[in-house]
Amino acid sequence: MRNALLKATALFVLAALAVADSAQAQWQAEWERVQAAARKEGKLVISIPPSADLRKALEESVRKRFGIELEIVLANSATTTKRVGDEFKAGVRYFDVITSTWDSLSYNLLPMGVIEPLEQSWILPEVKDPDSWWGGHIWTDSAKKFAYSPYAYMLDNIWYNSGHAKPEELRTYDDLLNPKWKGKIAFWDPRSAGGAALGIWGYLWLTKGESYLKKLAQQNLLLVEDRRLVADSLARGKVAVAIGATYYSYAAFVKAGLPVKPLPPSKEGTFVSQGNGGPVVIKNHPHPNAAKVYVNWLLSKEGQQVYSKAFGQATRRVDVDTTWMSEIGVRPAKDNITIDDFYKWQNAIEDKDVTVRRPALEFARKILN
């Protein structure tokens, strides 16, 4: 009896190993086949957020690793989605993969049905496995099919000029309403196409309410559409506090020794950003194999390392070290908060986008003229 049990266990283990082997052989064969086909296609057209560093890093990595040339268009997702929609209607298939969250897709591409479910492209087990990701698989669309969310982090998005303000004077959001700061606060205009500015505005709308934002607007905010000019205004002491712009806008000013510093995180918290979103695959795209290679590589450990380093958006992958990112004013969600807090403080997933981000934007349009 005992022997029979042992035999059965051994058989089961062997069968499991065989299945695992066969699964591994399957995905490896598939991965090899797709890579070979991608090399034949030779190129891939993608759209990414405007960043020369990110462009260079992706171009170089994908060319070296897979022999595929990336043709990259730099644009914000709102511009790209409009373009893809117009092209699709006219029968033009130019883009393979774009970068977006649900928000930009929701205005035309999702209703038009031109997005391919992303999981169709997944081959690598390290991408498919929810355990590779902090919080499992997170999507910004409710259908959990089209707009994957590989990034989650908090940002230092309120900065001060140490020659004109002290951090102890600005411990809470209410401190910004002090008459002392009237005409001394710059805000990266939340109405302009920029996620971080709208992110903090939406967070304040949710946690502090419209009356707070009205009072804040009455502080004669200097509304600036260009984040570089936000940083410049603060560095020159035109304003004492600046809201919305993040480390990347201030990096050159910090390196030059100018008196700009991030405020310590407020006790009232801040929003969790999901960056510019993940890869979104367009239906009937011209380079299907190269797109699969890119999507898998981008969501792999290596791809996420390259992306996070070049663009400063912290990945949710648990096997990528993100602790260094605090140096650039980025606090990765996986190193700092719980998953419950993430869902509470983010405002880019479809339901929160609809109930927080959009009404907050509408309110900004109403009161910031």
Binding site: V73, A78, E87, K89, V92, L198, D226
Partner: protein, 578 residues
């Protein structure tokens, strides 16, 4: 007999009937082609102002876009600001431009070739570094000039404020508003027969009176074209207003359109509605121009003798040189200096930080793998757009001025339309047009799409410049050639082309520069493969890397300066009075 104007004598009518018919057909086809290229984007723009995308992805048609555009808080103030700013700077620039062009073309002022060239240079410099350069000097808090002046005992506080109505006017004047006047008016002044001025002098009029009473009235078509072109461009301008106006809450028409386009999500319907509204303004301005030019003769280049003698300034020669040099320095040295300074700075405009200089910006840009391709693309785009633009605009201008073709008024109006649509909207509308015909003419996504877009976008300027030039050329030159037995082709090649050549070179150069610098019209049409230097500069700017963007800006300036030098050499060789 006026063959050049398509009028035929009864004796020739039978023989020429077929030719006339063929020409009319050809001209009608050409009108239809230009109409399609230019009018379709406008139709798309108008369509876009009524089309609203509903949440389920379907398009609904309503007046919501127009309501939002016209009901936008502050829109009336923004429109009036646009007009005040445009009229202020065009009036000042026209007076200064006439005077400078006259000094350069009609007097013995020293260094005239260099002076004229400096205004060309000034026109080529993108307006962003010009604005940043003046901020550096005239910012009320840290501007270098304000700092110097504050040190004087009798001055309390900053004397200048670049963030003001007159600050914006000043920056515009120094950026390109004066320069374009000098560029357009100088060749025309040069073609003015000096015998007219000599006659005025003989009759006892002084130099200034001759300028005001003789030269200026004769130059009216070119002056009007320069004024109206400038007015329209001023109403469209937004970069300087965005940088200097927004911080003080001064909005203009174009920054309102820009705001609609850059909000999340972009509001295309109200932006298109405001863009369409601009056509009404344009229509009025075109009507004004036609009203003033109707039934008047402005011929200065005739078959008679031509005197190119210049006026002697006497003791005013060097003071006048000082005056022109001061303006030329303000419009060239300040912006070019600040632009190249910025390329070597760790932080643009921060001179007081420790060790402010670096070569890293250049290293970074020169190491960029797509730099070379962007450079090639820019050259291809610039040269091709210049070629296509010159051919198209010469044909249009010739038909409008030198023929009696029935559709020429319509052609004239159509040629203005691209300027009725602000750059980014024009790019969007052109993209829609090319997508519409993509199944039959697959140019969308190619370099030719960018070439076509730039040739169309440049039409108003290029057509009007050539038109004004052609209006100065008497029909008798062509008639004499025809009488001598030359064919139309030979007449065009041997008579018209040599006279037109300096003007065509200027037009080609303008088109090249406009294409090399343009961002808004091509950004939605360009692909990763067809990215130009200007778009690479945009990539760096969007990534908040202003110093690297200025390196690319500096490269664009170097390229257009080289083009300008070549064009000047060529234009100088073929100048009429030479």
């Amino acid at each position: 007999m006026k063959i050049g104007t398509l009028e035929f004598s009864p004796a020739q009518s039978k023989r020429l009937f077929e030719s006339f018919d063929g020409r009319t057909l050809l001209l009608s086809f050409f009108l239809a082609l230009i109409g399609f290229l230019v009018f379709t984007p406008f139709v798309f723009l108008l369509y876009g102002s009524f089309a609203i995308l509903s949440p389920d992805g379907t398009t609904i048609y309503s007046l919501k876009g127009w309501r939002e555009a016209l009901g936008n808080p502050g829109i009336a103030t923004a429109i009036s600001n646009s007009f005040y700013l445009a009229i202020a700077r065009q009036s000042i620039a026209t007076v200064i431009g006439i005077f400078l062009a006259w000094l350069i073309a009609r007097t013995d002022i020293p260094l005239k070739g260099w002076l004229e060239f400096s205004f060309w240079l000034s026109y080529f410099i993108p307006s962003l570094p010009v604005a940043l350069g003046w901020i550096l000097l005239l910012d009320p808090k840290y501007g270098v000039i304000n700092d110097w002046l504050s040190a004087l005992p009798f001055i309390d506080g900053p004397l200048f404020d670049v963030y003001s109505f007159w600050g914006i006017v000043w920056v515009h004047l120094s950026a390109s508003t004066i320069a374009i006047k000098v560029m357009l008016l100088t060749p025309a002044f040069r073609n003015l027969d000096a015998s007219l001025e000599e006659a005025s002098n003989v009759a006892g009029a002084g130099s200034l009176k001759t300028l005001l009473k003789i030269a200026t009235p004769i130059m009216m078509p070119t002056i009007l074209v320069a004024f109206i072109l400038g007015l329209i461009r001023s109403l469209e301008a937004f970069e300087i207003e965005l940088i200097l106006g927004r911080p003080i809450g001064l909005h203009v028409f174009s920054t309102k359109i820009y705001s609609f386009m850059t909000v999340e999500p972009p509001q295309f319907a109200p932006a298109s509605a405001l863009g369409s509204f601009f056509l009404v303004v344009l229509g009025l301005l075109v009507f004004v121009q036609r009203f003033f030019l109707k039934d008047k003769s402005y011929t200065t280049v005739t078959g008679r003798g031509f005197s190119a003698r210049v006026l002697r300034l006497g003791r005013w020669r060097y003071p006048m040189l000082g005056f022109v040099l001061a303006i030329a320095l303000c419009t060239t040295v300040v912006p070019i200096g600040s632009l190249f300074c910025a390329t070597f700075m760790k932080l643009f405009g921060y001179f007081h930080i420790p060790d402010p200089w670096t070569l890293d910006n250049w290293k970074h840009v020169l190491d960029d793998p797509i730099l070379l391709r962007s450079l090639q693309n820019t050259l291809v785009l610039g040269v091709s757009a210049a070629g296509l633009g010159v051919v198209l605009s010469s044909l249009i201008a010739y038909i409008i001025v030198k023929t009696k073709f029935g559709g020429r008024d319509l052609l004239d109006f159509i040629s203005w339309i691209p300027w009725s649509i602000p750059g980014i909207l024009l790019g969007m509308a052109l993209a829609s047009s090319l997508l519409l015909i993509h199944r039959f003419v697959p140019v969308y996504g190619t370099m030719f799409a960018l070439v076509l877009a730039m040739a169309i976008a440049g039409l108003p300027l290029t057509v009007q410049v050539i038109k004004a030039f052609l209006m100065q050329i008497a029909d008798e030159l062509e008639e004499a050639s025809q009488v001598a037995g030359a064919s139309w082709h030979t007449t065009f090649r041997r008579i018209l082309l040599p006279i037109l050549l300096p003007c065509l070179i200027v037009v080609g150069l303008l088109e090249f520069i406009t294409s090399a610098r343009n961002i808004s019209t091509v950004v939605l049409l360009a692909t990763g493969k067809t990215r130009t230097l200007a778009l690479l500069m945009l990539d760096y700017t969007a990534g908040a890397e202003l110093e690297k963007a200025t390196v690319v800006g500096g490269m664009i300036v170097l390229m257009v300066v080289a083009a300008a030098i070549i064009a000047r050499i060529l234009a100088g060789k073929f100048r009429i009075n030479n």
